[in-house]
Structure formats: C-alpha cells, structure tokens
Symmetry: C2
Subunit: 297 residues, 2 copies
C-alpha cells in the first residue's frame, strides 16, 4: 500500500462536448508528470472533472493514464459519486485496473450527516478493497469533514490518507496539529488549494495535492524538493513568484485557468464540461499573458 506524500499532480481530463475523454490529450498531459518525477498523479480529481464523466469514460481515462505512465508513478483515482453503490463500482473499477488508491469525496445533494458519510466511506473501502484517500472538498461537495470524523475514518481498514482544503497560513499549523492528534501515526495528511499549500508543507504536511502541478510539474517539484532539502527560503521565494498565478486561481477558479492555458500551450484544445464555460476572451487573454510571463514548466 502506497502512502501519498510529496507532490500529487492533478491534471485536467480533456473530453469532447459529449463527455468522451480524449485519451491522446490525456496521455500528453500525464507523461510529463512522470518525467518530472512527481510522487503521484491525482487522476479524475475535481480538476479532472470526474463528476461530469460517465463510469465508462472514467475507465477509459484510467486505462489511458496507466498505459502512459506504467508503474513509474502511482496513480490516485477519483472514485466519488452521489450514490454509494456507484462509488463502490468506480472504486472496484479503479482497483481492477491497477490504481494505487482512490480519492473519495463526500459528494452531496441532500445534505449528509457525519454518520452517513462515515457509512459511505466504510462501504466503499470494504466493497472495493481500494485504499482510500478522504477527499475533503467542501467548496464542491458541500460537506466539511471534522477532525473527529477524519479520526474515526482513519481507524477503518483501507482508509490511508486525507486531503484537506488548506486554510490560510496563520491557521495551518493548528489545523495540521488537530488532524495529527486525531489520526494514528503514519496516516497521510495533505492539502489542496495551491495558494496556501507551501506553508502547509513547511508546517509538516505530507502531501501537496496540486492543480498547478498537473500542468507545471517541474515548477511544483522544485518547491517540493526545496522543502525536502530544508531550504525553506527557496520554497517561499518560489511561492512568492507564483502569486500572480494564485491570484488568477482565486479570481477565476484553478480549473478554468488551467483549461485556458492548456489550450494556449497547445497541450489540448478542449473546453470544460458544460454548464462550465471557457473563460471569456478578456479573462483568457489576461491568463495567457500572465502565465507566459511566469514561464512555468
């Protein structure tokens, strides 16, 4: 069983307007991630628009990514679904195909109780045998995990990690401490929200679940390597250099920004799934101009 750590890079999932995944473009996105030495790939995450894709297309995406990167880098696969039985089936698919772990979000329509989310996770872990990372994404799922619930789940077989949304630097140490006290030793704690994650890593988090790392893996790995070698100053300098990117992420959402720039780079020419619209021309021009200036790799 692999424990997520370091950089987990989250690519978009290029697909046509009917939701058919462009496996060629996906290969062009994941191969540079392997080449940059990312610690894992977060396939079909929120950035990978997993809830907008059918089970069949999610299978095709996993197959293509595994085929492209082989066993060189573990692939974590988003297996979230609104229904428990559908999440079970997706996790079984991912395990059968060779995914290292599943990212399971508490997608909700009817607001869920803690007991409901607990039962959902236990059922998916038990029925699939796929190691699970708790994918805590209240901005999209509208369910927020308490440290107590993470602690309860961390003691269940097969639940190996949590990805929390990174709070602002002043609170991150306390947040991480609260989780550490709730989970057994060795349970992997990580964060998403690129603009706050460098401080989370400096505070001792295990994993950075990164949107920017899905398109700029070398730059993201430079930050992770600086932290690993104890060069906090270099890590913070890189973070400061990326402030214009963080501003765009906060203004337009990281997903819309990455779609716009992947298109400008020629990596793929696809729009996000409707109802999500591509950025309007003016915003897109600003994104392209800003990111060209940053020269990210």
């Amino acid at each position: 069983m692999i424990l997520p750590n370091g950089l987990s890079a989250f690519p978009i999932t290029p697909a046509d307007p009917s939701g058919c995944v462009d496996v060629g473009a996906l290969r062009r996105l994941v191969t540079p991630l392997r080449d940059a030495g990312v610690d894992s790939i977060g396939l079909l995450g929120s950035t990978g628009s997993y809830p907008y894709l059918s089970r069949q297309e999610r299978r095709r995406a996993v197959e293509a990514a595994l085929d492209a990167v082989g066993t060189d880098v573990p692939i974590l696969v988003g297996v979230g679904a609104l229904r428990t039985d559908e999440a079970v089936a997706l996790a079984q698919d991912a395990r059968a195909m060779g995914a290292a772990a599943g990212l399971l979000a508490a997608i909700s329509y009817t607001p869920l109780t803690e007991d409901e989310v607990f039962a959902h996770f236990v059922t998916v872990a038990r029925e699939s045998g796929l190691p699970l990372c708790i994918y805590d994404n209240p901005g999209t799922t509208h369910f927020a995990f308490t440290a107590a619930l993470v602690g309860r789940l961390s003691r269940e077989p097969g639940v190996i990690a949590v990805k929390s949304p990174a709070c602002a630097p002043p609170e991150i140490t306390a947040h991480l401490q609260g989780l550490r006290e709730a989970v057994p030793a060795g349970f992997s704690l990580g964060y998403s929200g690129d603009w706050n994650t460098v401080e989370a890593l400096l505070a001792g988090a295990d994993t950075w679940y990164s949107v920017m790392g899905g398109l700029f893996p070398q730059t993201a790995m430079a930050i992770v390597r600086a932290i690993r070698t104890g060069d906090h100053t270099a890590a913070r300098e890189l973070d400061v250099r990326l402030q214009p990117l963080w501003s765009l992420f906060k203004e337009f959402s990281s997903l819309r920004v990455i779609y716009a720039y992947a298109d400008a780079l020629g990596v793929c020419h696809t729009d996000p799934p409707r109802p999500i619209l591509p950025l309007p021309d003016r915003a897109r021009d600003r994104v392209v101009q800003t990111l060209r200036g940053l020269d990210l790799r």
Copy 2:
C-alpha cells in the same frame, strides 16, 4: 402552457437499494394527490431524490405517474443534472412523455457563475421545448439565484416560473416584491420550505411547492383553499397546528421525515438512496408518534 399555482405536491420516489423505482408504490403515492385536487404534482423534485436516479428510472417514474393520474392534474418533472447535455435529454424525455413542465435546478460541483447558469437554462429550454420552472434550491445545489438572474431568465422563451426557498416571514414580503419587480407580469412566483410557505402565500406568492403536500395533500389543500377564500385566520391556525411537523422537518430534513412516516403508514417500505440513511430508531419513533398525534391526511 400551464402556469404553476396553488399547491404543487412533491412525493418521494420509492426505489430499491439499486435505484430501481417501485412504480406500484409511486402510483399509491400520486393517486391520492389527484384525488385531493392538488393543482400540480412535483415529480422527481429534491424530495423525489431525482439526482440519485438514472435517466431510465426517471423515465419509468414519469411514465407511472402520468399513467396513474392521467390528464387530471399537470405533472412538473425534475429534469436537473450536473451536465447540460444530460439535463437537455431529461427535459426532452419529460416533454415527449407528456409532462406539463420541467423543474430545472442549477446542480453544481464546480461552483457556477451566473452566466453559466443562464446559458444552462437557455440551452435546456431551447433544446427541449419543455416549459421550465427555475428550481432555486441553494441548500442542495449550492447555487443561489439573484432576483436579477431570475429576471433575465424570465424573459427567455419557455421559462415560466420560479420556485424560491422561502425566507422567514419578516423578509418574505420584500423578497416577493423584489422578484415581482424583476419579472414580467404573469410569471409564476412560488416557494418551498413548508414551514415558511403559508406566510409566503399570504403575501401573494402564486405557488406552494410542498413536501408535506406530497404525503398529506388534503391538509395542504385545506390551507390553500383557506387562503383562496380569503380566510387568513384559518390558514394561520392550520399552520400553527403543523408546527410539530415543521420542527421535525428542520431537525431531520423533510425528506428523511417523509420516508420514515410513509413507511409507518404502510404506503411504501423503502429507504432513501444511500448514502442517505433512514432515521435512527429513536428519531423515527418520535416522528411516528408526533405525526400520528397530528392526524394529517
């Protein structure tokens, strides 16, 4: 084209654990709605757990309900989906089968902009030809409609009504006034949130989109008829008598309460779709005892 008004009664959609709709039980739920003289049936609303059901099962539910009540009462059908193309297909299905209108919610995962929701609605209306009621349910969809966006949509062909969440009585008159000023004359304004809707109707709203009306249509129609005849005192007295029901709705959610009591009444013996769990025993016992005491019809 029918404009929603009066009581729109929202039944649950009984289904087995795999999401297969129990059409016999659904007929037993909708037939008394027709017999009670409800003004419309809100099939596959949030209470009808539409996002948890496949397109095929949603078709089976519409077919069964239409077959049970015939043309005696218009059926509004939930056609919401995360993807625009799926919502279009569901709306086309509903129109082809004879639904009077569609209830379209702005279901989101990636948070949506106003322009994205506008384009989503216009596309579904145009591609399906089904008259649409804007189903504003921020508690489940996590998108809240502004009066300005409702106003924009109300001028689009095929958008005929809005269902807003009812705010508390002190604010309802201002809320309704804000919407009236935003939409053309004749556009139907209605509310859900049973515990606040009597005051909304007294303030002049056209329609009550009612969860309790889906199981207790005679009681709900008694309120609507009292308001229609100008007997506001009688309407308010009935509302006061229902306070114990409103308290249960607020504590456990109306959906879980209705599932528990439909089971106790023997109307159907199904649980909500997982991950939603049936109420724990103690809560269920309280619901059953309270509602038996109220003797609702």
